[in-house]
């Protein structure tokens, strides 16, 4: 997979480089293993396991997905599927992502009445929720480390983190303010380079 170093965010893998069957299997796996949050598993499968996208390509897909309505990973599934196999790819990724979760959740729904109150179940869920939180934190830190951020990037990352994570400000509001500011500084940096 040759990297186009000029345009940092194009998909360097060509359309068709990943088949429908591969997309199906990959997103089925993501849906199946995405306990507590799909993002860490999605990144692992797409970037580390199957190398469909580079770290930067994945981060920029997630960025666009975050800004648009809809769950980030669902938007990512649609965009990635479309990129490799057009509308068929988008549908396959969306369907395979959601199938196992929906099957499992309805099965859980049926069992819930019987098992929810059991302390074993609560202990198990408590442990998995704690691990899931750690996975999300770890994934964000890992992405940050691998993307070699500039000092400005770190500042904006921290601002977003503090605004939404610590001050609990509105997500939409924070993105609406910090997004353009961050893009603005990136633009200035870009102009200065030319």
């Amino acid at each position: 997979m040759q990297r186009d170093t000029d345009s940092a965010s194009t998909f360097s893998a060509a359309a068709g480089a990943v088949t429908l069957r591969q997309l199906f299997a990959g997103f089925l796996k993501i849906g199946l293993l995405g306990f507590g949050g799909v993002a860490p598993i999605a990144r692992h499968v797409i970037v580390e396991d199957r190398a469909w996208l580079s770290e930067e390509e994945y981060a920029s897909v997630m960025g666009v997905g975050q800004v648009l309505p809809g769950a980030n990973t669902i938007n990512a599934a649609v965009m990635i599927g479309d990129r490799f196999q057009g509308i068929a790819g988008a549908i396959v990724c969306l369907a395979s992502l959601m199938t196992m979760p929906l099957v499992i959740v309805t099965a859980l729904g049926a069992l819930y009445q019987h098992f929810a109150a059991l302390p074993q179940v609560q202990a198990a869920i408590s442990g998995s929720a704690a691990a899931a939180a750690g996975l999300v934190l770890g994934t964000a830190l890992k992405m940050a480390r691998r993307l070699h951020p500039t000092a400005t990037a770190i500042v904006f990352g921290l601002l977003a983190f503090v605004a939404v994570g610590i001050l609990r400000l509105s997500l939409i509001g924070s993105v609406a303010v910090l997004g353009p500011l961050s893009i603005g500084t990136a633009w200035l940096r870009h102009r200065r380079k030319k």
């Binding site: 981060a59 920029s60 869920i125 442990g127 893009i183 870009h190």
Partner: protein, 180 residues
């Protein structure tokens, strides 16, 4: 009668599709309002339980909408609710994705995408903190969270292993009668 119900489910969730910026969490207040207060499809407690179930199951939390649809009207309700919630925003994502790709080499698109990345990472980190605050009740859960962080940072292995480990550790601690 049933067709009317399915239609109402479709309209309700389609209109909420565009509110769910960043995920279903942003739309949750709106969903709750419609499902519990306006349409009277269920009470508060059921809503909370269904959401807890959606979190326990793998996949994006937006599957809570599927559960709600299933609760209201079985399999048809699930399918309609899920499709109504997911398709509008997905179609938008597809269109935007194509536009961005077509103009991928345009410098301002490149700058916009790279410029957004730091905020993206910060938001994911914030989400992790919110999850940690909700999940970490005592020493054991804090340790599990930190161990999961280290695991992701230090290995290329599937994160699901950390989930399994956290579950087993917590279960074992309960079984051994250790405090959480």
């Amino acid at each position: 009668m049933k067709d009317n119900l399915l239609w109402r489910i479709a309209v309700t969730f389609a209109s909420l599709s565009f509110v769910a910026v960043g995920g279903v969490t942003a739309a949750l207040p709106g969903i709750h309002l419609q499902v519990v207060d306006v349409q009277h499809w269920m009470n508060d407690r059921t809503f909370a339980n269904l959401y807890a179930l959606a979190q326990a199951a793998p996949g994006p939390n937006v599957i809570v909408v599927g559960l709600i649809g299933w609760h209201i009207s079985g399999l048809a309700g699930l399918a309609v609710a899920m499709a109504a919630m997911v398709l509008p925003s997905s179609i938008l994502a597809l269109i935007v994705g194509r536009i961005m790709h077509r103009h991928a080499n345009t410098s301002w698109i490149v700058v916009a995408k790279t410029g957004l990345i730091p905020v993206t990472i910060g938001l994911i980190l914030a989400g992790g903190l919110v999850m940690a605050r909700a999940a970490d009740r005592g020493i054991l859960t804090v340790v599990i969270t930190l161990a999961a962080v280290v695991f992701v940072l230090r290995s290329e292995r599937n994160p699901a292993w950390a989930l399994a480990a956290g579950t087993i550790v917590s279960l074992s601690a309960w079984w051994l009668g250790l405090p959480r």
